[in-house]
């Protein structure tokens, strides 16, 4: 029960208090891209969750090995990237061979698995010295943060796209960036950092 609660706290922390997309900009490109056409939203969020949780767990297990623990930061990072790529290749191979996934699905899978959000999770776990259970929680939290970000951006995009009161120069990309910045400002309130002197 205690372990479940610690996992839940880690997930909620990654989703709300320190929303990984808005407060740290991890995977913001992918969030915006999927918010524009959210056809594969649930699949993408699920993929992010699976890959980030699995990478986090494997990397934490490897960190506990004495030989790996003594290596430099650069080698640690190389190991994390290697684990992520291996998981992606296994998952991709499974989807192609068993599920007969189409090209579009595989493109989305690549985007969801190999992004800054997924790779940031093991790096953050290592810097915060999380346990394996907490690492799983961070992975799930990353997926929930991604889902929340996509839904919020998608809701805003629908208003921006049909709004003719926006000046011509700001329509499209600039308006979207400023909208995302407002969301980021809203989430930064949870972090406790001071905006002004």
């Amino acid at each position: 029960m205690t372990q479940f609660i610690s996992m839940l706290i880690a997930a909620l922390y990654a989703m709300l208090l320190q929303n990984l997309v808005f407060s740290a900009a991890y995977g913001i490109t992918e969030s915006v891209k999927i918010a524009k056409r959210p056809k594969y939203l649930v699949m993408c969020a699920f993929s992010v969750g699976v890959f980030s949780a699995a990478t986090a767990v494997i990397c934490r297990l490897l960190d506990n090995v004495k030989f790996v623990a003594g290596l430099s930061t650069a080698v640690h990072f190389l190991i994390y990237a290697g684990v992520l790529v291996m998981l992606y290749l296994i998952g991709g191979g499974f989807c192609v061979a068993v599920l007969k996934a189409d090209k579009k699905f595989m493109n989305s899978l690549g985007m969801c698995a190999l992004n800054s959000l997924v790779l940031a999770v093991p790096l953050l776990n290592a810097s915060a010295n999380y346990t394996i259970i907490e690492s799983v929680g961070t992975g799930i939290g990353a997926a929930l943060a991604f889902l929340l970000a996509v839904l919020l951006i998608n809701a805003g995009i629908r208003h921006i796209a049909g709004n003719e009161s926006i000046p011509k120069v700001f329509r499209g990309t600039p308006a979207l960036l400023i909208y995302v910045s407002l969301l980021s400002l809203a989430f930064s309130c949870f972090t406790g950092e001071s905006l002004f002197l």
Partner: protein, 271 residues
């Protein structure tokens, strides 16, 4: 067979103009925003990021254009990450601790930067090495310019100093991610204004909000292969049936029917 590109000889000036300015990957396509938003809070950080990014992009595009043309896309995407991670590990071991600490996790995260994947997939694998190098240089310069401007503005507004000179502004909030997004938003607006005024024919809203009205779908169509196959089969059968029933016209028949129609029109006009 792979499609061969029409752009056999790309000029560096064309690559810089089209790839770097008109279709700026950061300001029009919103690619690779993560390091710019979080790490470009000073000019030094921005220059450091841009240098590493340029190295990664050039190497990846060259390798993609030489070796990776015959692989399937989903395998290639992972190879870009592996190549970038290898280079970054070398960079991280050589770079001094101060610069590495200032950039934090955002320097290693460059290995999964979206610009690298997109440029390699959309351009490098369809063209020769020289064109790939030009494209990589153009995109690196575009990244450098945007990162430098964002870093400069945020450094001035957040620390109140620039190269030892004091400025009246000092607001630590400008180092936060929302400020990076605001600065990028205004830069995107300036970029759009300049293209609209000076090159109106070239204006393409790459990040158009065409599909924005789609609502999130809670069913995964990618994995539902059985239904998809059944649908394709049904479509094929219907098409075959349609082809069988459809009356076959010869060219002469079509011409005669057209003549009839023309004659009818003439009659109507006369009447």
């Amino acid at each position: 067979m792979k499609k061969k590109t029409k752009r056999k000889h790309l000029k560096l000036s064309t690559a810089l103009f089209k790839g770097g300015y008109i279709h700026n990957p950061l300001l029009t396509q919103l690619l690779g925003l993560c390091p710019i938003i979080m790490a470009a809070i000073s000019v030094k950080n921005a220059l450091c990021l841009s240098a590493v990014f340029a190295l990664l992009l050039v190497v990846n595009e060259v390798i993609a254009s030489i070796f990776l043309k015959n692989m399937s896309r989903w395998v290639r995407v992972s190879l870009y990450t592996v190549i970038s991670a290898g280079i970054l590990a070398l960079v991280l071991s050589k770079i001094n601790q101060e610069a590495s600490a200032a950039l934090g996790v955002y320097l290693p995260l460059l290995c999964v930067n979206a610009i690298i994947v997109v440029r390699c997939e959309k351009f490098a694998i369809r063209t020769n090495v020289l064109n790939s190098v030009y494209d990589a240089v153009a995109n690196s310069i575009a990244f450098l310019v945007v990162a430098f401007l964002v870093g400069l503005i945020r450094q001035v507004l957040s620390t109140g100093s620039l190269f030892g000179l004091q400025t009246p502004f000092k607001n630590p909030g400008m180092a936060m991610p929302f400020a990076g997004l605001v600065v990028l938003g205004f830069l995107a607006a300036i970029h759009k204004w300049s293209v609209m005024n000076f090159y109106p024919d070239e204006l393409v809203d790459t990040f158009s909000l065409k599909g924005a009205f789609e609502k999130p779908v809670l069913v995964d169509p990618g994995l539902n292969t059985k239904q998809e196959r059944a649908h394709k089969k049904q479509f094929k059968e219907e098409r075959q049936e349609f082809d069988r029933i459809r009356p076959r016209y010869s060219i002469e028949d079509v011409e005669s029917s057209l003549e009839e129609k023309r004659a009818q029109k003439k009659k109507e006009e006369e009447s």
